[in-house]
């Protein structure tokens, strides 16, 4: 599973970044003053400021963008976070909050002349409250650790992004992370009760409540997915969900993408809400079969994976109906798995899709767009057409249940012109998603990567309003500046995740 990422630097970004950096770069005296001020509020081991020490923080999961921060601080509690923010506000120093740094859109990329506020030391599960079906945790707790802590009570934390063994809940909230099971259990935003934040002024606010709603504006919703631009999260109360007593996975093969897409619609129209519903096209099927020999039918044009969960009776009834629907829609073969190992085997192909495709070509780009489900055949035809036009193969992996498409472009930077063609192809695919009524990012976030794509999805008044919202929380623009919301002048280019044979951060993490 060795995958690699090359430094991918668009000349335009580089030039812009350098200009911005030059403007912000603190002179050595200012840097010394900042470190001195920080050391008055933090213990010495909580401040990193030598280049070698801060280098591990120069990028997140989108490794093609890198920037050395002025310093990295690692506070242990909310009071230290507040103290750091006050120091930075007094000195006009930008702050980038960071969890595990697994994000795929550059949200935790340091800002030149700014500090990284690492929240990894706030890593305690403070309380699991089964009676209220909630858990109160610090932001540096990993996603999976919450479910582990809840497991003795028969409960779990539902959102399950593919990086869940490493990604932190603070980052999940900042990105409104999804996962394989959002079709039934929702995104992060649906699974939160309350957060404690520290504003740039160092003030603590509670958004949401232990109750199911809170008075005033729904600032919890506004804050979720705000990518670190509005405040720093220091505590989170998540909603826990009872573990279903039974899970069944069905794998169905189809002779055409159209019939698989129709089957998805038929399942939804029948009033069944599967826990997961995934689709892969022939290119992806062949790649994973060659890679993990998971027994997928390589002749099929598409496979669907449907996971049904609930009580024994429910699963028996729903899966029988799903099976009938899949056959009715033209499934040529269906496999069913009940026990945990068999289910894992069926899932293994889907979960290995990215690394498997990574073996097929020297480089790959993973696009993250979302579309209305019914537009899938059109969009896939459009992608096939574009793929032909640019002479670059594209494989498709699709969270079919919730319309989140991950087209993967296979290419070789070694071939002259191919990098540029790939970028243009990716650009065109995202435009296709927006044209189909979708979004330029379903789950990876905007970060630095999709700043320009934002301008395709939103017009000037909306983008101006996003800046206005930011201003209401952070008038000086010190929190993760330059991320998530583009300045209008930048509205020129799309972004994407680029994977190549360099070093992929978190190479051990699954990605699907």
């Amino acid at each position: 599973m060795t995958r690699v990422v090359a430094l991918h630097t668009s000349p335009r970004y580089a030039a812009q970044a350098m200009n911005e950096a030059a403007k912000r770069r603190l002179d050595p005296a200012q840097r010394a003053d900042l470190v001195r001020a920080l050391s008055r509020v933090l213990p010495a081991d909580a401040i990193l400021h030598r280049d070698d020490d801060v280098r591990p923080y120069e990028c997140d999961g989108l490794a093609c963008y890198r920037e050395l921060p002025l310093a990295v601080v690692l506070p242990r509690d909310a009071d230290e976070v507040a103290a750091v923010l006050r120091v930075c506000r007094e000195r006009n120093v930008p702050v980038v909050a960071r969890g595990a740094g697994t994000g795929l859109s550059g949200g935790a990329l340091p800002v030149a002349g700014g500090i990284v506020l690492g929240l990894a030391r706030l890593s305690a599960v403070l309380e699991v409250d089964p009676a209220n079906r909630s858990a109160r945790v610090q932001p540096g707790v990993t996603n999976l650790a919450i479910s582990r802590a809840a497991a003795p009570h028969g409960l779990f934390y539902a959102p399950d992004p593919s990086s869940q063994i490493a990604c932190t809940i603070g980052g999940n909230v900042a990105e409104n992370a999804g996962g394989l099971h959002c079709i039934k259990y929702g995104l992060t935003t649906h699974n939160l009760l309350k957060i404690e934040i520290v504003t740039i002024d160092g003030e603590r606010l509670t958004l949401g409540a232990d109750a199911l709603d809170a008075p005033g504006y729904d600032l919890l919703a506004l804050f979720t997915g705000s990518e670190g631009l509005l405040g720093v999260i220091v505590e989170i109360t998540v909603k826990l969900t009872p573990k279903p007593s039974r899970v069944r996975v069905l794998l169905a093969a189809f002779a055409s993408v159209e019939s698989a897409a129709a089957a998805v619609s038929d399942v939804i129209a029948a009033g069944i809400v599967p826990a997961g519903l995934e689709m892969m096209d022939n290119a992806s099927i062949r790649a994973v079969e060659a890679y993990v020999a998971c027994g997928y039918p390589v002749e099929a044009e598409a496979v669907l994976l449907a996971e049904i969960d609930g009580s024994d009776a429910e699963v028996a009834e729903d899966s029988a109906r799903v099976e009938a629907i899949l056959r009715g829609a033209g499934a040529t073969a269906i496999r069913i798995a009940d026990d945990a190992d068999e289910r894992a085997a069926l899932w293994s192909g889907r979960k290995a899709a990215f690394p498997a495709l990574g073996r097929m070509a020297p480089d790959y780009y993973c696009i993250d767009g979302s579309i209305p489900r019914r537009r899938l055949p059109d969009v896939l035809r459009g992608i096939a057409h574009l793929s032909q036009h640019y002479g670059l193969p594209v494989a498709n992996v699709f969270h079919a249940g919730d319309g989140n498409l991950h087209p993967i472009i296979l290419y070789d930077t070694g071939t002259p012109g191919e990098q540029e063609r790939t970028e243009r192809l990716g650009t065109d695919i995202l435009a296709l998603c927006v044209e189909a009524g979708g979004s330029v990012t379903g789950e990876h976030g905007v970060g630095i990567e999709k700043l320009d794509a934002m301008c395709v999805q939103y017009a000037t008044p909306e983008i101006a309003m996003f800046h206005a919202i930011k201003h209401a929380f952070d008038p000086r623009g010190l929190l993760n500046p330059g991320k998530a919301v583009p300045t209008l002048r930048r509205c020129a280019e799309f972004g994407r995740m680029h994977v190549h044979r360099g070093r992929l951060p978190f190479a051990h993490l699954e990605r699907y």
Binding site: P130, N132, R133, G154, E175, G178, G186, L187, T189, T206, A209, D210, A211, L212, D213, P215, G216, Y217, D218, L219, A221, L222, G225, P242, K243, S265, G271, I272, V273, G310, S311, D312, A313, E314, E317, S370, P372, R374, H399, D402, N404, G437, G438, S439, T441, G442, E443, H444, G445, V446, K450, M454, A459, M465, A468, I469, H471, A472, F473, A484
Partner: protein, 359 residues
């Protein structure tokens, strides 16, 4: 009154807002008026949005609908029911002409809320007119969309103070194939204990209500799942739909009491606290209706200690000062509300004082 209900009034509404902005004249947004009792009286010219109605897009196999704000909730629900779908948050109407816009603006959710989700959980996108008279579109019609701040959910429950809702896109849910209700005779403390224990298990429970020594529990889902749960939990079967509709619409006998109606929103496992007056407890313990003349400060202190808040939902004969209807906010949070309001509605046009005196 139903004649011209299918119109796109966007332009006319923007024009009204621009005109009001030019004259610095506050506006009171009005759909059918069914939710007026919920908010503080606010002064201004009436901005009648009732004509801006109609379903814009509905694809049943997408489980998404987009409708104009003044679409009648009953029309919308009839259309969904014809396709075997419904609004997952089971909103109360509080009037025959209740609109989608009012429901979203007031963030009203019904009996299914604790099991399935709140109004805000189903909002995918919106179009609004801001205080400058500009049309803004946020979110969209797709389930997964993390581009930009989630302004559509911010609009949910803002009581029209941030902008005029034009269209709302909602995620839908299928109507459960089976839905039945059982009633158990049980005292309130034991009932709270039961619902708390059930909530920790994967049972197909879609609503609970505790009232007068009885606990009503509704099961929804696959026929077999409902049957199994009924067998386990027992109780006496009652006709399901009329009971929950009456509860949702505050048409039960309980609500006829002339005392003020308080809504206490608390952590679900909060122990029963007796106040002067009867209580009806929904949402597996998280929503407690209280008919009482108990002092607001006492109720607020209790609800806050229970992780929540208290709202004077129906004032009855009580004369309420404007600041006393909704639970007060800490000053730093209130300041943030004001700053947000200033960005959306710089001239302070929309529903001034509907929620809080200075919003």
């Amino acid at each position: 009154m139903d004649a011209p209900r299918e119109r796109d009034e966007t332009e006319a509404l923007c024009e009204r807002v621009r005109d009001a902005a030019a004259r610095k004249t506050p506006l009171v947004i009005r759909g059918s008026g069914s939710k007026t009792f919920l908010v503080n009286a606010c002064r201004g010219e009436t901005l009648d949005v009732a004509a801006h109605a109609g379903i814009v897009a509905y694809a049943p196999d997408e489980l998404v609908i987009t409708a104009r704000a003044s679409t009648r909730l009953s029309d919308l629900e009839a259309q969904l029911a014809a396709n075997g779908q419904m609004l997952g948050f089971e909103p109360p109407h509080f009037g025959p002409d209740a609109t989608l816009g009012g429901t979203i603006a007031c963030a009203l959710s019904g009996p299914r809320r604790a099991s399935v989700g709140a109004a805000r959980d189903f909002v995918l996108g919106s179009r609004i007119v801001d205080g400058r008279g500009d049309v803004l579109r946020f979110g969209g019609e797709v389930i997964k969309n993390v581009a930009g701040y989630d302004v559509s959910r911010l609009m949910t429950g803002a009581f029209g103070t941030l902008g005029v809702l034009l269209d709302v896109s909602l995620k839908l849910v299928p109507i459960p194939r089976a839905e039945r209700t059982r009633v158990l005779e049980i005292d309130v403390a034991a009932a709270l204990q039961r619902v708390r224990a059930w909530a920790q298990r994967p049972l197909p429970i879609s609503a609970t209500a505790i009232l007068d020594g009885r606990l009503a529990v509704r099961f929804s889902g696959a026929e077999s799942a409902v049957r199994t749960a009924e067998a386990e939990i027992g109780g006496e079967a009652i006709e399901s739909a009329p009971f929950w509709a009456a509860l949702r619409e505050h048409a039960l006998e309980f609500f006829a009491d002339s005392r003020p109606l308080w809504r206490l929103s608390v952590a679900p496992a909060t122990r029963y606290a007796a106040f002067d007056g009867p209580q009806l407890i929904e949402w597996h313990g998280a929503e407690r209706w209280l008919k009482s003349e108990t002092d607001a400060a006492e109720l607020r202190a209790w609800a806050a200690a229970a992780g929540g808040h208290a709202t004077l939902f129906r004032a009855g004969a009580l004369q309420v000062p404007a600041q006393d209807r909704f639970h007060p906010l800490p000053s730093a949070l209130m300041a943030l509300h004001r700053r947000l309001k200033a960005q959306f509605d710089p001239h302070g046009l929309f529903n001034r004082g509907a929620m809080y005196a200075d919003l």
